[in-house]
């Protein structure tokens, strides 16, 4: 299965509507988590908690997406020994989970469950047939914090995600076989979710920073 085939599979099973919803969910989760944590905790505790709350919000939103979308189901899973209940979305042969990463489209940290999931990526899955014969294609919804050089800007815009990608890793999670930059794919969602005071230049910079080869 080539990267192009994977791209076709993502388009076929997720489609623009669900991908758009995933990006909307990322923006919403960051905004809600930051507003909520900031309102509840001291600045220090806010720093501690907000990353967890982003993930909780996003896991919750994934469940909501499944309730809204046709052909998408959600389940709560906990890997053996893990302390985190994950929301997994199933769309046809795709199995999607969210992952927080440090930089745009960074590789997810090695974890047993991820490798287990990634090993399901049978690359011959779609070779001869459009049908998936019980195999799964593991897709990660990657999101990262926004990165700003200016500390004042970093403080002001930290409720915005830095990036959002859909990425399909190889079975050993050493490389992504295919990835979709959701910011680039749906710039209208980015514009609708970012501050109204931003001008074109601010948006271009923001989109640039969300690209995986962007250098600080």
């Amino acid at each position: 299965m080539t990267p192009e085939d994977i791209g076709v599979a993502l388009d076929r099973y997720l489609g623009d509507r669900t991908m758009r919803a995933l990006l909307q969910a990322v923006f919403q989760s960051y905004a809600v988590a930051h507003a909520d944590s900031r309102a509840r905790f001291t600045p220090r505790q806010y720093e501690n908690i907000v990353g967890y709350e982003v993930r909780c919000q996003l896991e919750d939103a994934l469940g909501g997406i499944a309730e809204r979308a046709t052909g998408v189901s959600a389940s709560e899973e906990r890997a053996p020994g893990a302390k985190w209940n994950r929301t997994q979305l199933r769309v046809g042969p795709l199995l999607l989970v969210e992952n927080a990463v440090e930089t745009p489209c960074a590789l997810v940290k090695s974890a047993a469950f991820r490798q287990t999931l990634a090993r399901t990526n049978e690359l011959s899955l779609f070779d001869n047939s459009d049908e998936h014969a019980g195999g799964l294609l593991y897709v990660a919804l990657l999101h990262s914090r926004s990165d700003w050089r200016d500390p004042a800007e970093r403080q002001k815009w930290r409720h915005l995600p830095g990036s959002a990608y859909l990425a399909v890793p190889d079975p050993d999670v050493r490389v992504y076989l295919h990835e979709i930059n959701l910011f680039d794919r749906f710039p209208d969602v980015v514009v609708a979710s970012t501050p109204q005071e931003w001008n074109v230049e601010a948006h271009i910079q923001y989109l640039d920073r969300a690209r995986k080869n962007w250098a600080v």
């Binding site: 909307q24 919750d60 809204r68 271009i204």
Partner: protein, 404 residues
């Protein structure tokens, strides 16, 4: 029969009592009203008239000018008034609301002698004559057709009051003194325009927008409904459900709403509430009835909404702008400012108290009684000798460009 106040109209006394919510007994207990409840009854039925002293005391008690009681009755051209929550509202609450509604019409007709109101542009749709036969699909299509008729597109409605006033509706926000009554409306055939009162006894800005959309639903869907139809509880209920459905479809066109409501969770609804200016409860109802979510999801959202205390007050309820009617207020400002009428003229013609007029017309308390016209001072003319070909300094303002 002793006739001590020539021209006294008994029905006006009943009207005054109903508006103020006084029983005959309560009226007789007011200062200076030195007659019995039986006498009040006789006045109202035309078997007797009050002495000038008693009339004066009654007028003071109900805070209306004395000549209110001498005004001829309105022509009986009543169409069908739709009361929201009529089934639970008391008869006295409905009577009071109807009287206030009549006063609103009096005010609008008076103003229309001096001011051209916007032309009435409400579409007449090709719908079944019997409204009970209206299907949900037909109602959804009617809402879409009204949007098309007004060239609105399918985006959020910035200001429902302004939208309807611009199409020729006369709108008032008024305390109806009854929490069971949310509003009422009537399409007045003689004036060829709808009149709507939105009750402000309870609610929120989002709720009041919904009330207006609901009344618009009656105007559009129920033009043929006769009052007799509303007597039967099941018909009344169905008519109200239809207006609800219309309001939801009109305020939240399905496709763009479905796109914004990407995840069936309350945080998503909170996030899009400022955009659509519709209550979260309304959005859950709309999503459920339109099949965007199934029953179990809707139930979960209702339960969680209740847990968050949103049945009492939702997020943004305290910061959303209250949409105030402008048509009558600006009309008064216009005719008083240019001297066409004075506050005394208003009282003489309408035979209402100024606070009542101010309230129904959306004027600030005291606007009419304290009105002092403002005139332009005779300022020196501008210097016309300056060479205007010399360009001035260009000040650049930051433009918001949201496209790529």
């Amino acid at each position: 029969m002793r006739s001590r106040t020539p021209g006294f109209v008994g029905a006006r006394l009943r009207e005054a009592r109903e508006v103020r919510g006084f029983t005959a007994v309560a009226l007789c207990e007011m200062r200076g009203v030195t007659v019995s409840p039986q006498a009040i009854s006789q006045y109202e039925t035309g078997r007797a008239t009050p002495s000038p002293e008693v009339l004066s005391a009654i007028a003071t008690a109900v805070n209306l000018p004395e000549h209110f009681f001498l005004m001829p009755l309105r022509k009986s051209d009543r169409g069908t008034i739709f009361y929201r929550s009529m089934s639970s509202a008391t008869k006295s609450a409905r009577s009071r609301a109807q009287r206030r509604f009549d006063w609103l019409r009096d005010i609008a007709r008076y103003l229309s002698e001096f001011v051209d109101f916007p032309e009435s542009r409400f579409p007449v749709l090709n719908l079944p004559t019997d409204p009970i036969e209206l299907s949900d699909d037909e109602i959804d299509e009617a809402a879409a057709e009204v949007r098309r008729f007004w060239n609105m597109g399918d985006g959020p409605i910035a200001n429902m009051v302004l939208l309807l006033e611009n199409q020729g509706a006369v709108i008032a926000r008024d305390k109806l003194s009854a929490e069971t009554l949310d509003g009422l409306s009537e399409f007045v055939a003689e004036d060829k325009r709808p009149y709507i009162i939105v009750g402000t006894d309870k609610g929120s800005p989002a709720r009041w927008r919904f009330d207006l959309a609901h009344e618009l639903g009656h105007v559009v869907l129920h033009a043929h409904v006769r009052p007799e139809l509303l007597v039967r509880a099941e018909h009344f209920k169905r008519i109200e459900e239809q207006a609800h459905r219309f309001a939801g479809a009109f305020l939240l066109p399905l496709e763009p709403f479905a796109e914004d409501f990407f995840s069936a969770d309350l945080d998503t609804l909170v996030a899009i509430k400022p955009k659509w200016k519709v209550s979260i409860a309304m959005m859950i109802t709309r999503a459920s009835r339109a099949g965007l979510i199934d029953d179990s999801t809707a139930r979960r959202l209702w339960i969680n909404s209740s847990r968050r205390g949103w049945r009492r007050e939702e997020p943004y309820d305290d910061v959303m702008e209250v949409e105030e009617p402008r048509l009558l207020r600006r009309s008064f400002e216009l005719i008083l400012q240019n001297g066409t009428q004075t506050a005394e003229d208003v009282v003489a013609r309408l035979a209402l108290s100024l606070p009542d007029v101010e309230s129904l017309a959306g004027l600030t308390r005291g606007f009419l009684s304290d009105f002092a016209p403002v005139t332009l001072r005779d300022l020196p003319r501008a210097d016309t000798t300056t060479d205007r070909r010399i360009p001035g300094k260009v000040v650049s303002l930051p433009l918001r460009n949201r496209t790529f």
